[in-house]
């Protein structure tokens, strides 16, 4: 039996929803902001849809829509992944050795941290 496309799509949607609930409910609260940002980058997949608009666009209105959609979706994808990466890089088990570009307070904090490692044990 050949199932109608919509039925197949709905099945995939519902199953993916359950997978999402399962996987995401295990993410600790500590990472909720990066999680939301990562989810944000994932919905940037709409870029695939935005790119396909350009294929069927054949008048000025179509091209304007294609341009805006591509720009929106690309901002979503690129920005989402870059900022998620930037945030996750900050989560460290131990204070890092400060790089010259760090804020003075951070350098101070990290310096204290390394001295602590010396005295604690």
């Amino acid at each position: 039996m050949q199932y109608p496309a919509l039925l197949v799509d709905v099945t995939i949607f519902v199953l993916a929803l359950w997978v999402g609930f399962e996987v995401i409910s295990k993410v600790p609260a500590t990472l909720h902001t990066p999680l939301m940002s990562a989810a944000n980058s994932i919905h940037g997949i709409v870029l695939a849809g935005a790119m396909l608009i350009a294929v069927t666009a054949n008048n000025a209105v179509g091209y304007v829509i294609a341009f805006i959609a591509a720009a929106f979706a690309a901002a979503n994808v690129v920005g989402g992944y870059v900022v998620t990466g930037r945030m996750l890089k900050m989560f460290k088990r131990r204070p890092a050795i400060p790089s010259p570009g760090d804020a003075p307070a951070a350098v101070n904090a990290a310096a204290n941290g390394s001295s602590r490692k010396g005295t604690a044990t």
Partner: protein
């Protein structure tokens, strides 16, 4: 179905698997970065597959190529710039803007499809098309308003006026009713009215919601964006969009529920707007007493000779940009062998988990950041609980019935042997009620701006212990 279609479809499944795996790896801070990389490679694969479809199809015009590439470069550049330069305190605004553009792009996919296919589309496609247009448009305008409120460009207080709810209802009825009519008889002109009504609804939905409810609103709009993207997937028959959209919808849904629970408010209550929980039950009077205020030297003595200190940061800390100062004080105490950890309430900050990112930026190691359920049993063994700019989430009144915050999960700060609260004034928290913690005989108040207070305390501890 050609071999080419098979391959493309399998690549999309691979990309979707990368998204799931990427989210799975986020269950631990140690693997989360790898998760983001896996997810990124999935996205790159999906975009490459889409390019292959476009090239393979030969249908695209030169103008189409130029428009698509120019759009991607402009948007990608803007996204990259925003992501590289954003302050961590401004993270909620950026996430909100990404929700806006994601929802907007999803709506445009459906709008284009509707105009291009015209009267030839089937009813089942029309349903998903209109859902995509409506949800996407609401997300777009709603997220922009939310970002504006977070940025302070738009009044962050609940903006309401008589008849606001009626206008809300009317807009929703127009968008959905007209949308349903369009399924039977397609018309580009009427679609414009649906879009305008949906955009207006997004604005009128978010305007009455107060700044403190933003963690819930952002999560909800995130779920909306995911749903809109999934609908776009239905419209163009692309499974990668459907799966990715469903994952984001699930993520946004879970976070919405968690945030609403942590604020002790129903999602409906927040969306309807207004202030407090609307409880008219007479509150059972709590303990009353006098407030004891201390200076930096007294606080330093308590902190320097404690063996266990828990720091309770709230939004006041982020607002004062004092995350580096608190980290410096904590490091100093730790260097004296004092056990220091941070108790993070789920709604500390302006979006889910916001406080953790702010502290991570200040080089606080993540094992010190404790969730509410994990840290609560430890307060009884704690010498000093240092509360900085957190109010309602520390109020013991939540344990009694009949107050505005009854039932709200709180940090058991009052169980600590002594409590120091850094606060600018005796002003109320978001719930608008007195905090019984402040009149507890164990509590001392330090009235100052968080940044100034922490700097003074750190200096006093240094002087004290040499």
């Amino acid at each position: 179905m050609s071999v080419f279609d098979w391959v493309i479809q399998l690549i999309y499944v691979l990309a979707a698997s990368c998204f799931v795996l990427g989210l799975h790896l986020m269950n631990n801070p140690a693997t989360a970065r790898r998760g983001n990389q896996v997810s990124t490679s999935g996205m790159a694969t999906a975009v490459a597959a889409t390019l292959a479809i476009i090239v393979h199809g030969h249908g695209i015009t030169t103008t189409g190529w130029i428009v698509m590439i120019a759009g991607a470069l402009v948007g990608g550049g803007a996204g990259m710039y925003a992501a590289r330069t954003v302050q961590m305190t401004a993270m909620p605004q950026l996430v909100s803007m990404f929700n806006a553009v994601g929802g907007g792009a999803a709506a445009l996919v459906a709008i284009h499809d509707y105009m291009h296919a015209g009267a030839t589309v089937s009813a089942s496609t029309s349903v998903t098309t209109l859902l995509d247009v409506i949800i996407g448009s609401v997300t777009f305008s709603g997220s922009i308003i939310a970002a504006g409120k977070l940025q302070g460009v738009i009044n962050s207080a609940p903006v309401t006026f008589p008849g606001a709810r009626l206008i809300n209802m009317t807009l929703a009825v127009v968008a959905i009713g007209l949308g349903a009519y369009l399924i039977a008889s397609p018309s580009a002109a009427l679609l414009t009215i649906v879009i305008v009504a949906a955009l207006a609804f997004g604005v009128s939905m978010v305007m009455p919601i107060g700044g403190a409810d933003m963690p819930v609103v952002i999560s909800l709009l995130n779920a909306f964006t995911g749903t809109a993207v999934a609908m776009a997937g239905f419209v163009i028959g692309n499974w990668a969009l459907i799966i990715a959209g469903a994952l984001v919808g699930a993520s946004g849904g879970i976070l919405t529920k968690l945030m609403a629970d942590a604020m002790n408010r129903s999602i409906r209550n927040i969306i309807v707007g207004g202030f407090g929980t609307g409880d008219s039950v007479a509150a059972i009077a709590g303990p009353t007493g006098s407030v004891r205020s201390i200076d930096a030297d007294d606080a330093a003595i308590q902190l320097a000779y404690a063996s266990k200190v828990i720091i309770v940061p709230g939004y006041g800390l982020a607002a004062a940009q004092a995350q580096h100062e608190v980290a410096a004080l904590a490091e100093l105490l730790e260097s004296r062998g004092i056990d220091v950890s941070y108790a993070i309430h789920p709604v500390a900050g302006r979006m889910p988990g916001h406080m953790n990112v702010l502290l991570a930026e200040a080089n606080v190691p993540y094992p010190l950041l404790k969730e509410m359920d994990e840290i609560n049993p430890e307060f009884a063994r704690t010498d000093v609980a240092l509360v900085i700019g957190a109010n309602d989430v520390t109020n013991p009144a939540a344990r009694r019935p009949g107050t505005a915050i009854s039932g709200m999960p709180i940090l058991d700060v009052d169980q600590a042997k002594s409590i120091i609260v850094i606060k600018r004034s005796m002003g109320h928290g978001y719930a608008g009620i007195d905090n019984e913690l402040y009149v507890d005989p164990k509590t001392s108040m330090y009235f100052a701006d968080a940044k100034k207070a922490l700097t003074e305390m750190t200096a006093a501890v240094k002087t004290l212990v040499g």
